[in-house]
Symmetry: C2
Subunit: 151 residues, 2 copies
C-alpha cells in the first residue's frame, strides 16, 4: 500500500498514474514490466531520492520475488535511457531522482530528507571553464531543513 509523499515543490515534481508510467517507459524505449513500473512509481511518486536499498525494502512486501540485483539493473536501464539521474551526496550511497532536468538538492543533516530546489548551474557563465565542454551539472547543499529548524 503506497502512500504518496507530500510534495514539497509541486512545480518540479509530478505524480504519474500507472498508465502514464507505462506510456512514459514505452516512449523512452523501456518495456514496461511489472518491476519496472513499480520501481518507477516508487521513485517518482512516493519518496524522494531513494537509494537502491530503500527502493528494494519499500517494494519487497508487494513484489515478493524482487531481488536487489533487479533494482540495480533497472536503475542502470533507467539511467541509460535518461529517465533518472544519480545523486551523490554521501559517500557510499547512490540516490536516484526521476527529475532529470538540472536542479539542486538539499540534504538535511538531521532528518536526512533530500529536497529538490530549482537551480540551473548551466545558466551561469564560468570564465575559467571557457573552452571546456560542460555536460553534467551538479549542485547540492547540506544543512538543516525548515521543518527541523522549527522543532
Amino acid at each position: 500500500m503506497i502512500k504518496y509523499a507530500e510534495i514539497e515543490s509541486e512545480n518540479i515534481m509530478k505524480i504519474m498514474s500507472i498508465p502514464e508510467i507505462k506510456k512514459y517507459l514505452s516512449t523512452n524505449g523501456i518495456k514496461p514490466s511489472l518491476p519496472r513500473i513499480k520501481i518507477f512509481e516508487y521513485l517518482n511518486n512516493y519518496k524522494s531520492h531513494p537509494t537502491a536499498d530503500e527502493i528494494y525494502n519499500a517494494l519487497i512486501d508487494d513484489l515478493i520475488t524482487l531481488s536487489k540485483t533487479t533494482v540495480y539493473n533497472t536503475m542502470d536501464l533507467f539511467l541509460k535511457h535518461n529517465i533518472v539521474i544519480q545523486i551523490l551526496i554521501e559517500e557510499n550511497e547512490i540516490r536516484y531522482d526521476s527529475l532529470t532536468s538540472n536542479h539542486g538538492h538539499f540534504k538535511c543533516i538531521k532528518c536526512n530528507k533530500v529536497y529538490d530546489f530549482k537551480y540551473d548551474l548551466a545558466d551561469i557563465s564560468i570564465k575559467e571553464l571557457e573552452g571546456f565542454s560542460l555536460i553534467e551539472y551538479h549542485t547540492y547543499i547540506k544543512g538543516i531543513c525548515k521543518s527541523c529548524n522549527e522543532k
Copy 2:
C-alpha cells in the same frame, strides 16, 4: 621525487614549503608528524584532488612503511580540523582537496583530471530554501576539458 603539478588557477591554489606546512598543521591543532606533512604536501602541492589510494601510491616509495590506514586516518584528522574537504564526483571514490573555501570542481570525463573553479553557491539566494540553514555548498560539473578538446 615529487614534481609539482602545473597550477591551472594560481589564484586559488598555493604551494607551501615544508616549514609552511609544518606551521599550518600546528596552527590548526595537528602535530606535524612526517606522514602528515608528506600527505599534506602531496595533497596541496603536487596533484589535485587525489583519492586516498592515489595518495598512498604516490608516497609509498618515499615513506616505505606508510599504510593505507594511516592515509585514511590522516584524512579524517585533516577533515576534523577543517584543513581539507571531501569531493564526491564519482560513486565509490572520495577525493580530497586542501582548498577549503567554497569553490566548484570540473571533472574531465576523458582525462579524469579534476579542475577547481571559482564559484560560491553561498552567494546565490534560493527562495525555496528560505527558513533552511545552509551549511555546506557543493558544485561540480562534468564534461571535457579544454586540453582534451584541443587534441
